[in-house]
């Protein structure tokens, strides 16, 4: 196996298009890919490491945060604005692995690997972030929900790389439950975001269906910056029904359903009522 670490995007894309399919594996932080390689899953001829590409932006706009694909998650955590402007994202990033792992793992890598247990996918779905995809003909941007096709599957075509993630700054919250606080997989994780005017709420759950997904029926029940208690309770109960809860070695379906209802309720309550996420 050879390791290539191009410094220009064009070289990286040319390498991806060269030779037969499956010849190249793309390496970002490597915290997930290296586990697969260690287990003998896949035998790429070339590891294409993105670490020399200048793709580590962290740029605040009026209503968005733009994050370069290879920015380590810990750099997001270090940003002094994040707690105020996208609180749910800070909480979700803090749930990934442990601190040492977050100095390595990247946002782009998390999305491309599309793990069913990703703690970042639910919050990014709730925030309705967009994914910038770079290919040989330029960059296209698509909503995350369209980017993800299923567990471990995305729309990325051959010769394409995730270049950036554009995240709306919205009042939001994230809640999770697992056996061990760090370096473990959540039994359930829940993300909630709302538009600044309170017109639209969004709920996304993970640890339930094959891949994190929105709970649209439940979220449609919520209106306003501070919905009445009975609507919050109904939305939480609805989300628990809608999520497609399953049993596995980490939790039974009954436990998950109960957990989900509790965590959705807590996350809704935790979304700041004030204008968090607004510019300024």
């Amino acid at each position: 196996m050879a390791l290539l670490a191009p410094t220009r995007a064009e070289e990286a894309i040319a390498e991806l298009l060269d030779g037969p399919e499956g010849r190249v594996a793309v390496l970002a932080g490597g915290t997930d890919l290296l586990l697969d390689l260690e287990e003998g899953k896949g035998a790429p001829e070339v590891l294409l490491s993105l670490h020399r590409l200048p793709w580590r932006e962290l740029r605040w706009g009026r209503e968005h945060l733009e994050v370069g694909a290879t920015l380590p998650l810990a750099e997001l955590e270090r940003d002094p604005e994040l707690a105020r402007r996208i609180p749910g994202l800070l909480e979700a990033v803090g749930a990934v692995g442990g601190f040492a792992l977050r100095n390595q793992a990247t946002l782009g890598g998390n999305l491309v690997r599309a793990s069913p247990v990703s703690d970042l996918i639910p919050i990014l779905l709730a925030l309705e972030c967009e994914v910038g995809i770079l290919g040989s003909t330029g960059e296209r941007t698509i909503p995350l929900e369209k980017f993800l096709l299923g567990p471990r599957r995305t729309v990325l075509a051959r010769g394409e790389l995730v270049r950036r993630v554009v995240i709306p700054t919205l009042p939001s919250a994230f809640r999770w439950q697992r056996v061990r606080p760090a370096n473990d997989v959540s039994q359930i994780s829940v993300a909630v975001a709302r538009t600044p005017d309170g017109e639209h709420w969004r709920i996304a759950t993970a640890g339930v269906a094959p891949l994190a997904r929105r709970a649209r029926t439940a979220e449609a029940l919520l209106r306003g910056r501070s919905p009445p208690e009975e609507l919050m309770v109904s939305a939480a109960a609805g989300a628990a029904e809608e999520a497609g809860v399953r049993a596995d070695k980490r939790a039974t379906d009954t436990y998950r359903r109960q957990l989900l209802r509790t965590l959705v309720l807590r996350a809704i309550r935790a979304v700041p009522v004030g204008p968090t996420g607004d510019a300024g």
Binding site: M1, A2, L3, A5, L27, G30, T31, L34, L35, L37, E38, L47, S49, H51, R52, A74, G97, G98, F99, A100, L101, N103, Q104, R180, P181, A182, N183, D184
Partner: protein
């Protein structure tokens, strides 16, 4: 296939041939003879292999040596000559904050990284920063005592 690799380890420039897919953990232990860094789980779950890269705690079992580049690496062997690392180790010794000692390099390196980045960090934030480190002897109470001494007293 190996290719030459230059690293800066504990202040010393080293050059050694390293296969492209080799983990930093293996390069440190088996090519450079720095066996203080431990292999615990090799899956990023236990923190025993923690080293500092560019001053930040990283898991050497999930880092390819060729990905490190020019960033300085600090392992447990280099803590002696680092004032923060020295202080952390002294407190671990004073509190006997270990049982079998296998996880200790990971704990002291992680704490050194946390304290270098956040001098005067609170006890709770240090404990949170250590969540990724496991002690399989479950000797946590003495480790907690050491952390209490290293933390700033609560305001």
């Amino acid at each position: 296939m190996t290719s030459p690799l230059r690293l800066l380890v504990n202040g010393v420039p080293v050059e050694t041939p390293v296969p492209p897919s080799e983990r930093l953990l293996d390069t440190l232990r088996w090519r450079l003879g720095l066996r203080g860094t431990k292999e615990g789980c090799r899956t990023g779950a236990c923190g025993a292999c923690t080293v500092l890269i560019g001053g930040h705690p990283r898991l050497s079992c999930l880092t390819l040596s060729h990905q490190v580049g020019e960033e300085p690496i600090l392992t447990v062997e280099g803590l002696e000559s680092d004032p923060v690392g020295r202080a952390v180790m002294d407190v671990f010794v004073a509190e006997a904050a270990l049982q079998c000692g296998y996880c200790t390099p990971g704990f002291v390196v992680a704490l050194t990284g946390l304290l270098k980045e956040h001098p005067g960090a609170s006890e709770s934030s240090l404990l949170e920063g250590l969540q990724g480190n496991l002690c399989r002897c479950t000797g946590y109470s003495s480790i907690r005592r050491a952390v209490t001494r290293l933390a700033e007293p609560a305001p």
